[in-house]
Symmetry: C2
Subunit: 219 residues, 2 copies
């Protein structure tokens, strides 16, 4: 008897720009590291460069231009309709620059993840890497979290730390954090899609990794 293959969960990936985390998720799914069937890569911006990258990877794409909707709620209702029509069961935000309202989130309750380029709760919101540099943080990183109705406040699934270097600019720091994002997001999403990750109050357990604890940054 052969093992039953892991069920692949139909997901959507939402982008607004380059979609580099989208590529890392699609690649993970195509390589069998992520039990996901990427039904659609959807952008709220028609000119998002990530749309062509998704097509190149053989993934259906869609555009839902937020400027065509009078309110956030109207956009969010159309977005939820579109995803449900495609049978999407789970949503991964990957540089999607729209705040989702309860109109959307109540229809996908507990089924939306995001990745943020800081160790939340430090440096929420926009320009997280710049915030970390300007604050003088010596360690920052990235966070995969469930999306709730706040800004970057949902339960944390996984985090990775990144050391800040003396000569870092916003660009060099963002690039090193992005490397970790590309590693972390597939691992965290896989733990959620397979049910290994469990939400207990605000804590998410079951996502533990093999890594050694990171050391001090002074020497």
């Amino acid at each position: 008897m052969s093992e039953r293959p892991t069920e692949r969960v139909p997901i959507a990936i939402l982008i607004s720009g380059r979609g580099s985390n989208m590529v890392s998720l699609v690649t993970a799914a195509q390589e069998g590291r992520l039990s996901a069937d990427v039904r659609v890569v959807l952008s709220n911006r028609p000119d998002a460069p990530g749309l062509a990258r998704a097509s190149d990877l053989g993934i259906p794409t869609a555009v839902l231009d937020h400027r065509a909707f009078a309110t956030r709620e109207a956009f969010d209702a159309a977005l939820a309709d579109e995803l449900e029509r495609r049978g999407v069961r789970f949503v991964a935000l990957a540089g999607f620059l729209r705040v989702l309202t309860p109109v959307f989130l109540r229809r996908f309750a507990g089924r939306v993840l995001n990745i943020h380029p800081a160790l939340l709760p430090s440096f929420p919101g926009v320009h997280a890497q710049r915030q970390a540099l300007e604050y003088g943080a010596r360690v920052t990183g990235c966070t995969v979290h469930f999306v709730d109705e706040g800004v970057d406040t949902g339960p944390i699934v996984a985090q990775a730390a990144v050391r800040v270097r003396d000569d870092d600019t916003e660009e060099t720091l963002a690039a090193r954090i992005l490397e970790q994002e590309h590693r972390l997001y597939p691992l965290a999403l896989q733990a959620v899609l397979t049910g290994r990750a469990r939400v207990v109050g605000r804590r998410v357990v079951g996502v533990e990794g093999p890594g050694d604890p990171p050391g001090p940054d002074a020497g």
Copy 2:
């Protein structure tokens, strides 16, 4: 010609309790890893267990009981007097549970360090380890920072990250953070005392370490 030995800076270490970070600093000084002459270990509590540990290590101790002073400012003035009388040039807080007022800080401007058991600006104030657990952080750590007139807001000298485990209690997490504190504080203080660390705006540079960047916590 022999090399001129590094100048040892006269310092005080202020405690309120066990003083485990105090022991790590004193040991580093005695082993030559910290260019400090520990002139006094001072507690605001007469019953602080760290006082006996300091005596055992051959360090002079003093008690300045805050209950004997009508105001924070009166205590702070007496504290500054006491330290200056002993020739202290730099102050390391190590579990010192008093907020210092400008009365003290203006006399030791830029010459007071503290260690905090979280990756600031996350989880400032008391019970930082409990805050991290309750928030559901997957990475926390410790921070050595200059003390300014806010609560845990001064420029950051060094940080070390610590992974949160699924089965962590406040006690187990605090113990693993404490291990990193004991490594980090002597390294960070040494960088400051030798002038290697430089404050540029809010950023402190010159304290970079040899460590590899910490990896993701999911696997």
